[in-house]
Symmetry: C3
Subunit: 159 residues, 3 copies
């Protein structure tokens, strides 16, 4: 048993901006010496996808899903997508101009800071995502493991 504060985030959303918010809070909490977990479920799993195509055996439905969903953090869309047509590209340009970190860098930073990145196995099964298609160094778990982390947590968020 340790005395570290715990921050546990469920990342459900597949939106670039919401994932950014999740990772900014996670990196901040890690810098303040919290034990941090991001549990990626449903569309949030896309943030953990590798950006190249990975050859794995899939059924028709799973193949289709794999094609339709964004391949990795950099390809995710915005929650406010139709907001005057301003796309992720515009946001990224602005972030660059202000030296803000893009999402893939925020994810690497989280891994360096030992934020625990977890992929929800139930969703992987549903969407037909294989371990080979996801980033290295992440963990795999279900809702029981999430609750074990969250129930002693200080900051629990659903994003």
């Amino acid at each position: 048993m340790n005395n570290k504060k715990k921050t546990t985030i469920v990342l459900f959303s597949g939106d670039y901006d919401k994932a950014m918010a999740a990772y900014i809070i996670a990196n901040g909490a890690a810098a303040y010496d919290h034990e941090v977990t991001i549990f990626h479920t449903f569309w949030g799993l896309n943030a953990l996808r590798k950006d190249e195509h990975v050859e794995v055996k899939k059924g028709f439905m799973e193949k289709m899903f794999g094609k339709m969903m964004p391949r990795g953090a950099d390809k995710m869309g915005l929650s406010n997508m139709n907001f005057a047509g301003m796309g992720p590209k515009l946001i990224k340009d602005i972030m660059k101009k202000h030296n803000a970190m893009p999402l893939p860098d925020l994810i690497s930073m989280a891994q360096e800071q030992e934020v625990k990145l977890v992929a929800c196995t139930m969703t992987m099964d549903l969407l037909g995502l294989h371990k080979e298609e996801l980033l290295e160094g992440i963990e795999y778990a279900g809702v029981a493991a999430y609750l074990a982390d969250a129930e002693d947590g200080h900051v629990n968020l659903f994003i």
Copy 2:
């Protein structure tokens, strides 16, 4: 005063997938012996609607709302609706294939596990929903009751 851990979820969203996430977490927490409450507010109330038409006296606006909003969990849409046109039907087919529980079953399971399902009375009033239109065995309360549950909670989520 008991020593059970508490999980308290605000279900604001009327999306099928988000409601699924809420109920999966709730059922998991109940299985781990938490005291669990789901407080249904705004569009989240639709998860508690009966799926048949119920004859109640309403004004014009309330009637309109009643018609426009999905009648029960099974009729709710997806948060990622336009995601390549993949509708709730596709998700449900995939869930069936993987033996995942559909939302109405998750709700019944929650009731069997004595998860407290609460309908926000303020929203019921706003949207013109009557008790007769909602599932049996639920409770009715406002923000004060929610806070009383949440302030001693271990896992508090807004979904």
Copy 3:
């Protein structure tokens, strides 16, 4: 160190109905003597904008953003916008009919109750929002200050 319970809300969303939910919970918690903070980030910042145009020096991109984003709480859209075409106007009419408080009034009430309203400085920088454009009496901070509030909190929500 005091013994007050703490409620800390991240308002990420720029939706009128979600902001309402945030402010209703915040006002409720303040009434129950919690120390309450709403940390406005990304699109949630729009709830803090003054409704008149404020003359400040901006670059092209910042000017564009300023024009595209809703100027203040009253101009925000609904999360369920396309829900049978029912716009914010309809919701506001219904709220009036039921004597529910519109969002700008909920914000004033929060300020009277000494809810701490914080604008995320990182987002202000990204979106090119200046202090002169935001409501009086609010605070300015970053993720570190948010975490300091949240880590001792009882009710932490991401909306």
